[in-house]
């Protein structure tokens, strides 16, 4: 076990919703230095095991399927992809290069775009829920006449602005990503 521990390392890393491709490249680069992803024990913690250097391709799909959905994993497994783990809706897959061209989990532009639409939908709904929650809270506080009202008013205005700003920023980034894919050929 001691020997095994030496050959395992955990790397903490986070990435933005629109930077999944950078994450794929990073994981492939790790593999080319001999560190191979084993699993994701907790959010943003990647467990790697040292092995021989390999040219492999990592791909991230976005599907909110349960960890026990074997049907989903088997479609990839049958096509030669190894399912490593999932985090949030991100599904981590790996396949070795066959020749020079890296394998892909999407064979057309449309399905690649669908992935980002799923991210948009999920994120949009999350923000909507947050917005509604915040509105309900602020209504409760505004209707109650207390001294702390002015403090909470400031708090809600701040929270609202933060929410709207980050929402606009993130949605904008994802839409920019979608536009870029649309412009790509093929």
């Amino acid at each position: 076990m001691v020997e095994d521990n030496r050959e395992i390392k955990i790397v903490k890393k986070t990435f933005w919703l629109w930077q999944d491709e950078l994450e794929e490249t990073w994981l492939s680069d790790m593999a080319s230095t001999g560190w191979h992803l084993v699993n994701i024990p907790k959010v943003s913690h990647y467990r790697f095991r040292k092995g021989s250097t390999k040219k492999v391709r990592y791909c991230l799909d976005y599907q909110n399927v349960s960890k026990e959905d074997e049907n989903y994993k088997n479609i990839f497994k049958d096509a030669g992809w190894e399912h490593l783990d999932s985090m949030g809706g991100w599904q981590y897959f790996r396949k070795e290069y066959y020749g020079d061209e890296g394998p892909e989990i999407f064979s057309d532009k449309n399905s690649k775009l669908q992935k980002y639409y799923r991210i948009l939908t999920f994120f949009g709904l999350l923000m909507l829920a947050l917005g509604v929650g915040l509105s309900v809270f602020s209504l409760i506080f505004i209707s109650s006449n207390t001294d702390i009202l002015s403090f909470f008013r400031g708090f809600f205005i701040g929270a609202y602005s933060m929410l709207v700003l980050s929402f606009t920023f993130i949605i904008g980034k994802i839409i920019a990503r979608i536009r870029k894919i649309k412009k790509e050929t093929g």
Binding site: C59, D61, Q63, N64, V65, S66, E68, D69, E70, N71, Y72, N74, I75, F76, D78, A79, W81, P103, E104, I105, F106, S107, D108, N110, S111, Q114, K115, R118, T121, F122, L125
Partner: protein
């Protein structure tokens, strides 16, 4: 119809409001045409494969075989189309074997495939009649 186990319902199914409100089964042909056609090559070949009951990987193999190795559908693309078409009742699950779901075209799916073949037929005929040579 098969009963859907509760944990198989995805968030995207619950929020697929358009399916609930527009009742795709009851759409007229014009509306169907507008919503589904033209299909992507992958969608067309996946539906064409589901004239018979098949599971994910056998669809990939079948498509590769009938296109002479030209079209290789990747798993992410395949799952995306299958889950969407399943949610929209274009295909139905028949059974699950060795943790692989088997699907077949629904009546709506058969109709859509026929409409698309008809559309492609027109493209082909016009190409032959008016195109080069």
């Amino acid at each position: 119809m098969n009963d859907i186990p509760f944990n198989d319902i995805l968030p995207c199914d619950i929020f697929m409001i358009d399916v609930i409100f527009f009742r795709r089964n009851q759409m007229d042909d014009k509306k169907l045409h507008k919503t589904y056609l033209p299909m992507t090559e992958a969608t067309y070949y996946i539906l064409l494969s589901l004239v018979e009951t098949r599971h994910g990987y056998s669809i990939m193999q079948h498509v590769e075989k009938i296109t002479g190795g030209r079209l290789k559908i990747a798993p992410g693309t395949l799952y995306g189309v299958l889950s969407k078409m399943d949610a929209e009742k274009v295909i139905v699950m028949t059974n699950e074997e060795r943790k692989r779901k088997y699907y077949i075209l629904s009546e709506l799916g058969k109709k859509l495939l026929k409409m698309e073949i008809h559309r492609i037929e027109e493209l082909y005929n016009n190409g032959k009649e008016y195109g080069g040579e």
